[in-house]
């Protein structure tokens, strides 16, 4: 048993860390988050050049062919630097496409990996949940009966609404989860499609932009239906597992930043003629931050490894999402409290991480959601 990063993984970690330090200082994070897209084309192309988009995906599509552990290493560093933009949503979408395979994957993925093609996923609905029950899904595909000029291609239409779609406005294509009859289906939809309206809905975390997508009789050709039924469900689940490892790793990066920043502050800030880090209550908050961070690391590495080995990844990933979602919230609260008033200001960087963590806590389901999934696995 060897429960640590390998040498090459440590090198990757260092190179991402160095890149972030050099290219994405917190001043650039702040500048980007004030823009409409939180995205900078030249930064995106540089990240693509580094191979960080789809690094865990097959070389046949232009990925690096590395594994979930490497994906986790990169995500942690991007979280630690609070890097804005669509890295996470793009990797989620790319994973979904790759696990479905077929002509659309071959057509889109190379461009996704080199940065020229932008994709995201429209999945969540306001009255749905991350378990995507097709029976109650508002966004539905239905046949309208008409034939197109191209022979034998039935045109369907999509109606409904998705929300919290990351970076939809900056995407070229949406992958959309919809209900058809009593099944799930996965669609690919160019953002320029007729009947698709994308509206900005600013969220708590300004480093990632989220949008509402309204579909009103959007025409869907048969070749836009990527998968249905069990195949769609499985591909979605698998891609969510990968994306959850990534988001948990990002939260781990945030935890690491919170710990370091809080301990440093406690060692320098003076009150009553002594540094506040000499007060035991503050020390104990820092000790708890350490415990949360180290435990989160164990959970994240285990989930990444289980995914890589194709073990009972559903369980390992759910355990990580439960633990890390709760841990990052508690840690954020400890960090703000230990900072006093300065920690409550816009000027201090803490709130950037705090809000990113809050959004991550819900992304792909919060701790309560995944506890119920685990209960299902344990108790039936």
């Amino acid at each position: 048993m060897y429960f640590d990063l390998s040498k090459p993984q440590k090198l990757l970690q260092q190179s991402v860390r160095d890149f972030c330090k050099r290219e994405i200082p917190i001043s650039r994070v702040r500048a980007l988050m004030e823009t409409d897209s939180a995205m900078d084309d030249s930064l995106w192309m540089e990240m693509a050049e580094q191979g960080w988009i789809g690094l865990h995906l097959d070389e046949q599509y232009g990925g690096l062919g590395l594994g979930p552990v490497e994906l986790s290493v990169v995500a942690e560093e991007l979280g630690r630097a609070c890097v804005p933009g669509p890295w996470l949503s793009t990797n989620w979408a790319a994973t979904l496409l790759a696990s479905i395979g077929g002509p659309v994957a071959s057509e889109l993925l190379p461009g996704v990996f080199d940065g020229s093609m932008r994709i995201t996923i429209a999945a969540l609905e306001e009255q749905g949940s991350w378990s995507f029950d097709p029976a109650v899904m508002e966004t539905r595909l239905s046949e309208n009966g008409k034939k197109t000029v191209t022979e034998a291609v039935t045109v369907n239409v999509l109606n409904g609404r998705k929300y919290l779609v990351q970076h939809a406005q900056q995407a070229d294509h949406l992958l959309c989860v919809a209900g058809v009859d009593d099944e799930l289906c996965l669609l690919t939809i160019p953002v320029a499609s007729d009947g698709l309206r994308i509206t900005s809905t600013p969220g708590i975390d300004a480093t990632r932009k989220v949008y509402q997508c309204d579909f009103s009789n959007v025409p869907i050709r048969r070749d836009q239906i990527l998968a249905r039924g069990d195949e769609a469900r499985q591909a979605l689940q698998q891609s969510q597992n990968v994306a959850m490892v990534a988001v948990c790793s990002e939260m781990l990066g945030i935890l690491q930043w919170l710990l370091k920043t809080t301990v440093e502050y406690a060692k320098s800030r003076k009150q009553f003629d002594r540094v506040i880090g000499s007060f035991q209550v503050v020390q104990h908050m820092c000790a708890d931050l350490l415990l949360l961070t180290e435990s989160a690391r164990s959970a994240v590495w285990n989930a990444a490894w289980a995914l890589q080995e194709n073990l009972d990844a559903n369980r390992a990933v759910a355990v990580a999402k439960v633990y890390v979602s709760d841990a990052v919230r508690k840690a954020g609260n400890l960090a703000v409290q230990s900072h006093g008033g300065i920690g409550f200001t816009w000027e201090h960087d803490l709130h950037l991480y705090y809000k990113r963590a809050k959004a991550d806590e819900y992304l792909f389901g919060d701790a309560t959601f995944h506890r119920e999934r685990l209960a299902e696995m344990i108790l039936g």
Binding site: Y2, F3, H284, A287, H370, A375
Partner: protein, 391 residues
């Protein structure tokens, strides 16, 4: 990263499993809590001898001292497998886990030869005489005195909370040998025969009903100077080797018992009803069971990570405090979760032999024994995070 056991580790586990299958005795029939009877202790001693005979005593000890030279990971496999096989509890835990390694680290050749084999064979049971009525967390303030008299130390004073003292043959004792220097610098470690004239033991009953720990009184007890362990006035350092070991070791053995508790709790959820509904169908119960599962998994993973580090040759350091802090507080939450799910019934001694109430009460001691949670947090803040001392 590779969380699978290596072929060597698997081979070790398989050998051990088949040995255990053939050798684990029937469980001791008597009630083993409260007033422990002599038969029970003999039962444990017999087991230790069986382990010794089979070459499974002191697995982590170097081969030259009669051990098996097992790696930290193999040792944790050993502890887990023994517990899963429902073997008798390991009552030589202080001798084998704490005293032995300390003697190996700082003991004289003669001490090694005299004491180590007797620990492995179960002939000698050890206790750890550190805490005193006025020196608990502030252990270095201890005042049990040892004064040199010819070829002996003469010891006077009192220890308290000493686990196993009522049956122990020997005691690893911290005493003050110099009162004129800073408190950490005047402590010496002695190996004391519990049958020496002047040693008396008085059991203390714990809130859980056990009499697991004791008061131990020393009145003009003569200890030969060859039983000084390590250098004179270096007892604080010697004693700390043991404490670090203690924190790193405990995890693997307690994990399995928590796992078993969880299994039983899940079983109850599947079969017991409240207001006509299975516990397993209650959404709050489901949340709580899942949360307990997550926390238990985290304990296993944190322990495995620490083991993997010591396997790579890093000595157990202050981060061991993370493990101790985590499992002790987790066990209290787990015990409370069980009480909450099982409800009113759980307090009864007639339900599951009173195990749930017992676990619940016993877990209160977890955040006190081996250094309180507050002390663990101090250690993490000061020694791991480098914050200034608070006192």
């Amino acid at each position: 990263m590779d969380l699978n056991l290596t072929p060597d580790e698997q081979k070790f586990r398989d050998e051990l499993r088949s040995w255990l299958a053939a050798n684990v005795p029937e469980p001791w029939p008597g009630h083993r809590r409260g007033e422990a009877d002599a038969g029970y202790w003999d039962h444990l001693r017999d087991w230790q001898q069986k382990l010794f005979g089979g070459g499974w005593a002191g697995v982590s000890w170097p081969v030259e001292y009669g051990g098996r030279g097992a790696s930290p990971i193999q040792q944790s496999i050993f502890l887990a497998e023994v517990a899963r096989a429902r073997a008798p509890e390991h009552f030589g835990v202080i001798g084998e886990g704490l005293v032995g390694p300390t003697i190996m680290a700082v003991g004289s050749e003669q001490q090694k030869q005299k004491f180590l084999p007797r620990i492995l064979s179960g002939k000698d049971i050890w206790c750890q005489g550190y805490s005193e009525p006025n020196s608990g967390s502030d252990l270095a303030s201890l005042s049990t005195r040892a004064i040199r008299d010819g070829e002996h130390f003469v010891v006077n004073g009192q220890k308290i909370w000493t686990s196993f003292a009522q049956i122990a043959d020997w005691c690893l004792l911290l005493v003050r040998t110099d009162t004129s220097v800073a408190k950490h610098k005047g402590i010496t470690c002695l190996l004391v025969d519990m049958k020496s004239p002047g040693v008396s033991t008085k059991p203390l009953r714990q809130m859980s009903g056990d009499s697991g720990f004791n008061e131990v009184f020393f009145t003009d007890v003569r200890v030969p100077i060859e039983n000084q362990l390590g250098e004179l006035n270096n007892g604080w350092r010697v004693g700390l080797v043991v404490l670090m070991n203690e924190r790193a070791n405990l995890g693997a053995s307690v994990y399995v018992s928590f796992e078993e508790t969880m299994r039983q709790l899940i079983e109850h959820c599947r079969t017991r009803k409240r207001n006509g509904r299975l516990l397993a169908e209650d959404p709050l119960v489901r949340q709580n069971i899942a949360q307990a599962h997550v926390e238990l998994e985290l304990f296993r993973l944190n322990t495995d990570r620490a083991l993997s580090r010591s396997n790579a040759g890093e000595t157990p350091g202050p981060e061991g405090s993370i493990l101790k802090l985590y499992w002790s507080e987790m066990n209290q939450r787990l015990s409370q979760t069980a009480m909450e799910i099982l409800g009113d019934t759980a307090q009864l001694s007639t339900f599951d032999n009173g195990n749930w109430a017992y676990r619940y009460l016993r877990s209160r001691g977890n955040t006190i024994e081996g250094g309180t949670s507050e002390i663990q947090r101090n250690i993490l803040a000061e020694r791991v995070l480098g914050m200034p001392k608070s006192y």
